[in-house]
C-alpha cells in the first residue's frame, strides 16, 4: 500500500470526524465511560486479589493459654502442637515477651502498663501457622481440645469475605462492561453510518471508477478506530491519574499504608495498553458493522 494512499485514508477519516463532531464526541464519550469502568473494576479486583493473598499467607492461629498453666508446662506443649497434621510453624510467646512487645507498640503511652502496678495480665500464647489456608479451621479445632487452652483465635471468614467481594465486583463489572461495550459499538456504528450516508454518492462513484472495497472501507475503519482510540485514551488518563491520586491520598494523608494499595507501574501500563487496544477494536468493530451492508453491490 502506498504512503499516499494511507495518508488519503487518514485525511478522509479526519475530515468526516470534523463534519460529524457531535456524534463523534458522543461515541467517544461512551467508549471512555465504559473503559473507565473496565479500568476501575480491574484495579479493584487486582487490589482485592492482592489483599486476599496477603491475608491468606498471614492467617495465623493464636492459642491463648490458661493463666493457671505455668510457663514450663506451656512450653512443653510445643512438640504436641507441632505434630498436629497441617501445622507448618509453631512459635511460643511467653507473657513476659508479650508484655515487652506490647510496650513497644504502645510507645509513649507506656504509663498505661505502669498503672497495672507490676502485674502482667497477658497470657502465654502460641502462634501457629498452617501449611495451607484450608488447614486453618481443622488445626484450630484440634487446639481447642487441649485442656490448657483458654481460647483459640484465627481470622475466621475474612478471606472468604474478601473473595466474595472480588467475585461480586467481577460480576457487576463484567455486566456493566458488556452493556456499555455494546452501547459504544452501537454508537460508533451509528456515527459511521451517518458518514457513510453523507457520502453515499461519492462511494457509488468510487465503485464505478473501480475502487476496491478495501479502498472504500479504510477511511471509515480509520474513523471508527480514531474514535475508539481517543475514547480509550481519555479513559486511561482518567483511570491512571485518579488511581495514583487515591494511592497518594491513602498513603500520605490517611497514613493507611496497611491497605496495601498496589502502585504497580507495570500493571498500570499493561492496563492502559489493554484499554487502548480494546477501544480501537470497538471502533473498528462499530464501523465494520455499519459498512457490511452497503458494500455488497
Amino acid at each position: 500500500m502506498r504512503i499516499r494512499t494511507i495518508s488519503y485514508f487518514i485525511r478522509e477519516a479526519l475530515k468526516s470526524l470534523y463534519r460529524n463532531s457531535w456524534m463523534g464526541l458522543a461515541s467517544m464519550g461512551t467508549v471512555a465511560v465504559s473503559l473507565i469502568i473496565v479500568g476501575l473494576s480491574l484495579i479493584t479486583v487486582m487490589n482485592a486479589n492482592y489483599l486476599a493473598a496477603r491475608l491468606e499467607s498471614n492467617v495465623e492461629i493464636i492459642a491463648f493459654i490458661k493463666s493457671d498453666v505455668s510457663e514450663d508446662d506451656a512450653r512443653a506443649l510445643k512438640n504436641e502442637i507441632q505434630s498436629i497434621p497441617g501445622v507448618s510453624s509453631v512459635e511460643f510467646r511467653s507473657k513476659d515477651q508479650a508484655l515487652v512487645e506490647f510496650r513497644k507498640e504502645l510507645g509513649e503511652q507506656q504509663n498505661m502498663i505502669n498503672a497495672l502496678g507490676g502485674e502482667n495480665p497477658l497470657p502465654h500464647l502460641y502462634k501457629v501457622t498452617t501449611i495451607s489456608p484450608g488447614d486453618v479451621e481443622g488445626v484450630a479445632k484440634k487446639l481447642e481440645l487441649f485442656p490448657q487452652m483458654e481460647k483459640v483465635d484465627y481470622g475466621k471468614g475474612v478471606v472468604e469475605k474478601l473473595f466474595s467481594i472480588t467475585r461480586w465486583v467481577r460480576l457487576v463489572g463484567l455486566t456493566v462492561i458488556v452493556l456499555l461495550g455494546l452501547a459504544a459499538v452501537f454508537l460508533i456504528a451509528t456515527t459511521i453510518r451517518l458518514t457513510v450516508f453523507a457520502r453515499r454518492k461519492e462511494i457509488q462513484i468510487m465503485k464505478i471508477l473501480g475502487a476496491t472495497n478495501w479502498f472504500i472501507r479504510w477511511p471509515f475503519l480509520v474513523e471508527g478506530m480514531v474514535l475508539g482510540f481517543t475514547g480509550a485514551l481519555i479513559a486511561v488518563l482518567i483511570v491512571d491519574f485518579s488511581y495514583l491520586a487515591v494511592i497518594d491520598y491513602v498513603q500520605k494523608d490517611l497514613n493507611l499504608n496497611i491497605l496495601g494499595l498496589q502502585k504497580d507501574t507495570r500493571f498500570l501500563l499493561l492496563l492502559g495498553g489493554v484499554m487502548l487496544g480494546v477501544g480501537t477494536f470497538i471502533g473498528a468493530l462499530g464501523s465494520g458493522i455499519s459498512m457490511r451492508k452497503f458494500l455488497k453491490v
Binding site: 499516499r4 454518492k201 464505478i208 471508477l209 473501480g210 475502487a211 479502498f215
Partner: protein
C-alpha cells in the same frame, strides 16, 4: 471486445428487463443503443460494467466471462470501462481537476501518472481553462465534458455512455457526441444508449435497437428508426 450470449435479466421484483439478448461489439466500434423507454438499454449497459448481474447467459469481456466474476475482481473489470451518465455524477465540492484526478486516486495511480494524465484528459475535452471551477459554475455541456474527461483519464479500452446528451440542448449534444467520436477514432470502443434521433441519424454508425428487452434490429450505418 464484448460478447453477450443469450443474456436474460429479470430483476428481483420480476421485471423482465432483457430476454435472450446476444450482441457482439468489436474493438474500435461505435455503437448506438436505441429503443423506447423501458426497453432495457440501461440494464444492458449496467450488465457490462457489472452494476447488475445477468439472470441467464454469458457476457464475455475480452474473452473473460464477467457473469462469473468474484466480487474482488469487479473493481479491476471496471478500470477497463469508462462510464458516462446522463446526470454527470460529478462530486459537487471538488474542482474540475479534482473530479478528474479522483478517478486515478481511487485506483491508486501514482502521483506522476496523475500529474501527466489529468491535464491531457482536460485538454482532450477542451476544459484546460476551467480546471479550478467547481461543477456548479459550469454549463451542462461543460459538466458532461468533465464526466468524459474522468471516464477517459485512465485510457480504458471501452466507454459506456447512458444517454450522455439527455440533459443537453441539441447544439451541446452534438459537441458531446463529436467528442465521443474523436475518442472513438483514437481506438476506444464506444457504446452509447440514446433517445436522440437527430444524432443517431446524423452519425450513421452501427445501431442496435431494443424493444421489450429483445434486440429487434442491428444495422451498420443505421438510423434511429422511431418517430418520437
Amino acid at each position: 471486445m464484448i460478447n453477450m450470449i443469450n443474456v436474460s435479466k429479470i430483476y428481483p421484483n420480476g421485471t423482465k428487463a432483457l430476454t435472450d439478448v446476444s450482441l457482439r461489439v468489436e474493438k474500435g466500434e461505435f455503437v448506438f443503443l436505441v429503443g423506447p423507454s423501458g426497453a432495457g438499454k440501461s440494464t444492458l449497459t449496467k450488465l457490462i460494467f457489472r452494476e447488475e448481474q445477468p439472470t441467464r447467459g454469458q457476457i464475455l469481456f475480452n474473452g473473460k466471462n464477467i457473469a462469473r466474476l468474484r466480487p474482488g475482481e469487479v473493481p479491476y473489470l471496471r478500470r477497463n470501462i469508462g462510464v458516462i451518465f446522463q446526470d454527470f455524477k460529478l462530486l459537487p465540492n471538488k474542482t474540475v481537476a479534482e473530479n478528474v484526478s479522483f478517478a486515478l486516486e481511487v485506483i491508486e495511480a501514482s502521483k506522476r501518472e496523475i500529474r501527466k494524465s489529468v491535464p491531457e484528459a482536460l485538454e482532450m475535452v477542451g476544459l484546460s481553462d476551467k480546471v479550478n471551477a467547481v461543477p456548479s459554475e459550469l454549463s451542462g455541456g461543460e459538466q458532461q465534458r468533465v464526466g468524459i474527461a474522468r471516464a477517459i483519464v485512465n485510457n480504458p479500452p471501452l466507454i459506456i455512455a447512458d444517454e450522455p446528451t439527455g440533459n443537453l440542448d441539441p447544439e451541446t449534444s452534438w459537441e458531446i457526441v463529436n467528442l465521443l467520436h474523436e475518442i472513438n477514432k483514437c481506438g476506444t470502443t464506444v457504446l452509447m444508449a440514446t433517445h436522440d434521433k437527430v444524432i443517431v441519424d446524423g452519425m450513421r454508425k452501427r445501431v442496435v435497437a431494443l424493444e421489450n428487452g429483445r434486440v429487434v434490429r442491428d444495422e451498420e450505418r443505421g438510423a434511429y428508426g422511431y418517430e418520437d
